[in-house]
């Protein structure tokens, strides 16, 4: 599988079971995400990818199981400990999650004001730099409603990296973008990840993105309601024992039995 196997696990998902009421969506999810990975959570629509991400972010408590960050359990940690863990994360949500009543500058200033010791003038310069990193230099005074969808995704990324996070979470980062913008965003994610030394966890079913940037992945199955594959996506496409995974990764509607 991937070369990251030898490194210690940064995030450990342990026996996580998720359910809405009595309707179990996924059960017994156990896998590791290693330092420096670009890790993709894959699976068909409605299999619980985004819900798993929300469990990892502590937005929804899983029905069973735990998630460990650098060996510390998130769900048995104190509120203060959880908050300090959260400060090391940068998150972009499916629809961006930018505050619509604030300009881009105010959006990015907010976490900097709350959690850093930068002076006002320094914060302004740092915001300019973060916007420049995502190719939005000079757009400080724009409101999210005044820029395009692709720019909003990048602005959300700028806010996510405001605090130089150790882990970046993305929920469908390139959904709704054209192929060029989408591949530019992929490049940007890789560049930022490489230069900041961050770990990336993303939910997506954009195959080009998955093959272009991911080095490790987990596949959640709709039918057996658990994870059925774990590993490098390109290798899974060619060598997975599970027909549905090969089907998913080669974008075909029928299982090609001969390649099994």
């Amino acid at each position: 599988m991937s070369s990251s196997e030898s490194k210690p696990a940064l995030i450990e998902v342990r026996d996580v079971t998720m359910a809405y009421g009595t309707n179990v969506i996924q059960s017994d999810l156990t896998f590791d995400i290693h330092q420096g990975d670009i890790f993709v959570i894959m699976g068909g629509s409605g299999c619980g990818k985004s819900t798993l991400l929300k469990h990892m972010l502590g937005l929804i408590t899983p029905d069973a199981g735990d998630i460990l960050y650098s060996g510390t359990s998130f769900y048995s940690a104190s509120k203060e400990r959880q908050d300090s863990m959260r400060k090391r994360w940068g998150i972009t949500y499916q629809s961006g999650g930018l505050f619509s009543a604030m300009t881009l500058e105010e959006n990015i200033t907010l976490p900097l004001e709350l959690y850093t010791e930068y002076t006002k003038a320094e914060t302004k310069d740092v915001v300019a730099y973060k916007l420049a990193l995502v190719g939005l230099a000079g757009y400080q005074s724009y409101y999210p409603s005044e820029i395009s969808g692709g720019m909003r995704k990048r602005a959300a990324l700028a806010r996510a990296i405001a605090l130089d996070p150790e882990i970046l979470f993305f929920d469908e980062p390139s959904a709704g973008l054209d192929p060029i913008s989408s591949s530019l965003l992929d490049d940007l994610i890789v560049q930022i990840k490489e230069s900041m030394g961050a770990t990336v966890v993303m939910v997506t079913h954009e195959l080009p993105s998955i093959f272009a940037i991911a080095n490790n992945s987990v596949y959640l199955d709709n039918i057996s309601r658990t994870m059925i594959e774990y590993g490098n996506p390109a290798q899974l496409r060619d060598h997975s024992q599970k027909a549905v995974v090969r089907q998913f990764l080669s974008r075909s509607a029928t299982a090609d039995e001969d390649s099994a």
């Binding site: 619509s100 009543a101 850093t116 010791e117 930068y118 002076t119 003038a121 320094e122 310069d125 740092v126 300019a128 730099y129 973060k130 420049a132 990193l133 190719g135 939005l136 230099a137 000079g138 757009y139 409101y143 999210p144 409603s145 130089d164 940007l188 560049q191 930022i192 490489e194 230069s195 900041m196 030394g197």
Partner: protein, 376 residues
């Protein structure tokens, strides 16, 4: 880890080349001199090239990157060649990413002189534009009503009944409270004045006529403007944000028929009923105060019956219908014209309440003048 404060020094290596030597911990908590201090030095004596040397940097975060970016952008605008050496690992990659796209420049916009905003012709044009839009909306609603009357409108009965329920029964609590209290206020006001002439008994007339003609319907309308008008604006504004209104229009369905009519008709049907309820409770509230002032309930009732007439009741009901239409129009129009962000939805709700209260008061005054002239 040494935490010497961040600093920099501008050295002239040769005549045309300058060297900017950075040192110390460039991280939060330590404030270096802002970039503009060297910018002024560089402007007064511009070199051909500027090289940033990072040998002395012990520790860094985004603060250093922000500084380097300013350096880079400054050199680009001044035509100075920018170079680096001995920078800590990772910085060059980040700087490359950050400088890959040129900063966005606002298109030149000549600001209109502020006096021109007071230009009467401009103000008139804007006011007439607003009025025309309002009239156009009322016109569209009227046409939609015509289509409904001939059975050709895309209005669903299910929507209408749902809105009736939202508007009516759900509002009983708040209407009960406000109308009883307003009835009591009217009675207090009247009793104190009338007692001076020994005419306390006429409190009953005052409460009955005041409530039926004015206060019952007006208080109901104000509550409905805040409760239902704002809700309509928020619902339609959210639909605008979610592109639901676009979806309705492109299906060939008129948003006025599908969204505005059921809301407006629900309010027009429910408002008179709520008004009757509010009138009753208002008169009861007046009776409670009158009882406290020594007027017995039979006296209050018999005196009140004398003042009660079908004219007084119908004046209130006519107003209720007019007010309901105005509240629905103000609310729906604010919602349909709302912007496409969540902030715009809040703005639409505010606009709806403010406009409907203004409409209510103007309409109430106008109706009173007309009835006065007609002697009703």
């Amino acid at each position: 880890m040494s935490t010497s404060p961040p600093g920099y020094e501008l050295l002239g290596e040769s005549q045309d080349e300058s060297l900017l030597a950075l040192s110390g911990a460039w991280a939060q908590g330590h404030s270096p001199e802002p970039f503009r201090t060297i910018a002024s030095q560089l402007i007064s004596n511009p070199p051909h090239s500027l090289t940033v040397d990072g040998t002395g940097i012990t520790h860094w975060d985004s603060l250093l990157m922000a500084f380097l970016l300013q350096c880079h952008d400054f050199c680009r605008t001044q035509g100075i060649a920018f170079g680096t050496r001995q920078l800590p690992q990772g910085i060059l990659e980040l700087l490359d990413v950050a400088t890959a796209v040129k900063p966005h420049e606002e298109p030149e916009e000549t600001p209109a002189p502020w006096l021109s905003t007071l230009d009467p012709a401009n103000l008139l044009r804007r006011a007439s534009g607003g009025t025309r839009d309002s009239l156009a909306f009322i016109g569209e609603v009227t046409i939609a009503m015509g289509r409904l009357a001939t059975g050709r409108a895309n209005t669903r009965l299910k929507d209408f009944t749902a809105f009736c329920y939202q508007t009516g029964p759900n509002a009983f609590g708040i209407i009960s409270l406000t109308s009883i209290l307003v009835g009591m206020i009217l009675a207090y006001l009247g009793a104190v004045q009338l007692r001076q002439f020994g005419a306390e008994i006429y409190v009953a007339d005052l409460v009955v006529i005041g409530t039926l003609r004015e206060m019952g319907v007006l208080m109901t309308a104000v509550v409905m403007a805040g409760r239902t008008g704002a809700a309509y604006a928020a619902q339609l504004g959210t639909m605008q944000t979610n592109e639901e209104i676009d979806a309705i229009s492109t299906m060939g369905i008129s948003p006025i028929e599908f969204l505005v009519l059921p809301r407006m008709l629900a309010l027009v049907v429910i408002m008179p009923l709520l008004t009757v309820y509010a009138d009753l409770l208002g008169i009861v509230g007046g009776g409670i105060v009158a009882g406290g002032m020594g007027i017995s309930p039979p006296q209050y009732i018999s005196q009140g019956m004398g003042a009660l007439s079908i004219t007084q009741v119908s004046v209130g009901l006519i107003k209720a219908v007019v007010f309901a239409a105005l509240i629905a129009i103000a609310g729906c129009r604010a919602g349909i014209n709302s912007g496409r962000s969540s902030a715009a939805v809040g703005q639409a709700a505010t606009t709806a309440v403010v406009t409907s209260v203004v409409y209510l008061i103007v309409a109430d005054a106008a109706i009173n003048i007309v009835f006065q002239q007609l002697g009703i």
